[in-house]
């Protein structure tokens, strides 16, 4: 098995383990940490796909800023462990296997459908090509997202402000 395949399986296993841990953990802080692990594994997968800039942006913006926001909110709201549910155990024992089966079925169908895809050679200097696209063909969405972020900042301030 080539080195790339081994690295892929390791990173994929870490990502899936992190996602399962997100669902299974009871305290939101542990779920947040699991999500950060998933994001880091995904950044490794982007590097394997030779999308270096996206990998760096994923870590800097997603894992390094958005998740910090989540962690701040969890700490400030003092979110505790989830309480035990009072729903029926039958629903749990019937629902979880069905969910797993649905998941596996989805994965199988997707794998069958995309089996014919072959990776084209990656473009040299992907970062440069990406920035050319971003600032020439997609400059309007780029500027629109800056206004979007401004709106989001204003919205967050207005929503979370205390009326003192």
């Amino acid at each position: 098995m080539s080195v790339q395949l081994t690295v892929f399986f390791v990173l994929a296993a870490i990502a899936v383990a992190g996602a399962v841990s997100l669902i299974v953990q009871r305290h939101p802080i542990h779920s947040a940490l699991s999500l950060i692990v998933v994001m880091a594994a995904l950044a490794g997968l982007y590097l394997l796909l030779e999308a270096e800039f996206i990998a760096a942006i994923q870590i800097i913006v997603y894992a390094g800023a958005i998740m910090v926001l989540f962690v701040f909110v969890i700490m400030l709201l003092n979110a505790g462990s989830e309480e035990r549910t009072n729903l029926s155990r039958t629903a749990f024992y019937a629902g979880v296997p069905l969910a797993i089966f649905l998941l596996l079925e989805l994965a199988y169908r997707v794998a069958r459908g995309s089996a014919s895809m072959v990776a084209q050679p990656s473009p040299a200097a992907a970062t440069r090509g990406l920035s050319m696209l971003l600032f020439q063909d997609f400059v309007f969405p780029f500027e629109a997202t800056s206004i979007l972020i401004l709106i989001a900042i204003l919205g967050a301030i207005v929503l979370a402000k205390r009326d003192v």
Binding site: V3, H27, I29, H30, L33, I36, A43, E52, F53, A55, A56, I59, I60, A63, G64, A65, V68, V71, F72, M75, L76, T127
Partner: protein
């Protein structure tokens, strides 16, 4: 395993480089604490560590032993997993950024492979360093939260908010350098600063003929001091304000890990400043035949230090000092002679100038810490958002204008 190394010799070479670099980094981390205490003491008009070994040179060893032998307590109702994770995360991230820093231009052969003086020469080196720094915020925030102590929580959250805010200014101030050079690769950034303007001024990004990055360096340095939680920006961990901030409940080795993580990030930031603004491993003198004698300057400097140590050692008060200092001085002289050997002098030049620049920047770091008073937290955040970020953006705008006009 042997087959893996035979098929991919790059792994073995990288392993050797990592081991050597780790050893050098951890030693210099320990002696950076000694350096800081000595400089702090001399600024305050006293001697600093003097008794533990000649001139206090064994002080880091004594501190390390103290940290190892102290009792390792854990708060009763702390979240154990996160409590153990936080210092480990901080330290491992702070140390791993050194893998991306190029120390010199020379290449050398080892195990039949020709490699250069950098562990990982990635095309997005600068961006990767910022990525690792931005994850470092978690070490602080999680440490504050997992201690189950309201002072720690407040200190941790304040510290994390400060780091996230100044990270923006840090990245923006570096954008000026990126406009001048056009690549994220750190070795390329250093190579683009070679040559001189007007025959004698080195073309460092600080004094670039297109757009001198003075404003950028100022923003970078202030943001870096705030990012590493050092005075004058260390309210979140100040001893007199919030007990000890996010590392209140940590003792012995875990506290040592936070301590080391702070100094390691200091070293990283200084390395990056030297690479981005001061020409990395380039000599400040023009590389012409008339200035060929400057290639021996690092060796001469080292020899002077060695001779000084020998002379001081012979007249030292304790017997142990009279033996150890001359031995260390003689070793330094031997290294200096080796460095001045005709074959090795070009190879040694790069790392030597780089280390000299890092030392100067670290000295300024320590100097600033022990001279300026501390900022209040609202002043700190105000500076980060209302002063530093607009100035960094202005730097980007001015630099891009200058680059466009110059083309």
């Amino acid at each position: 395993m042997n087959e893996l190394f035979a098929q991919h010799p790059i792994l073995l070479v990288s392993l050797v480089k990592i081991v050597v670099l780790l050893f050098l980094l951890l030693t210099s981390l320990a002696y950076l604490t000694w350096f800081e205490r000595k400089v702090a003491a001399h600024i305050q008009g006293r001697w600093g560590p003097y008794r533990v070994g000649p001139h206090g040179l064994m002080q880091p060893l004594a501190d390390g032993l103290k940290f190892l032998f102290k009792e390792d307590t854990t708060p009763g109702s702390a979240d154990r997993f996160v409590y153990f994770l936080a210092p480990f995360l901080s330290l491992s991230l702070a140390i791993s950024t050194i893998a991306l820093i190029p120390f010199g231009p020379g290449t050398f052969r080892i195990f039949g492979q020709t490699t250069s003086l950098v562990v990982a020469n990635v095309n997005i080196g600068l961006l990767a360093i910022f990525a690792i720094t931005s994850i470092g915020v978690y070490g602080v925030a999680l440490a504050g939260w997992s201690s189950n102590n309201k002072y720690s929580l407040l200190g941790g959250l304040r510290s994390a908010a400060q780091m996230v805010s100044y990270e923006l200014s840090l990245t923006m101030s570096v954008a000026g350098v990126l406009l001048l050079v056009g690549t994220f690769n750190l070795s390329e950034i250093v190579r683009a600063q070679s040559g001189t303007t007007w025959g004698f001024l080195p073309r460092w990004n600080l004094l670039s003929p297109t757009a001198p990055q003075l404003l950028g360096f100022f923003c970078y340095f202030v943001a870096a001091v705030a990012e590493t939680n050092r005075l004058p920006f260390d309210l979140a961990e100040a001893e007199s304000e919030l007990v000890a901030g996010f590392h209140t409940e940590y003792s012995s080795f875990k506290f040592a890990m936070f301590f080391m993580a702070e100094y390691a990030s200091m070293i990283t930031v200084s390395c990056l400043a030297a690479i981005l603004y001061f020409g990395g491993w380039l000599s400040p003198f023009p590389q012409t035949a008339a200035f060929a004698w400057t290639r021996y300057l690092p060796a001469v400097l080292l020899a002077c230090v060695g001779v000084g140590l020998v002379i001081n050692g012979f007249r030292y008060s304790t017997a142990w000092g009279r033996i150890m200092l001359p031995v260390v001085g003689a070793l330094l002289c031997a290294v200096a002679i080796l460095a001045a050997w005709p074959g090795a002098v070009d190879f040694v030049q790069g790392p030597a100038w780089f280390l000299l620049k890092i030392l100067v920047i670290l000295f300024v770091y320590v100097w600033v810490r022990w001279t300026l008073p501390r900022f209040r937290y609202d002043q700190l955040m105000g500076i980060g958002w209302k002063f530093l970020l607009p100035v960094a953006i202005a730097n980007v705008v001015l630099t891009s204008l200058a680059v466009v006009i110059h083309k």
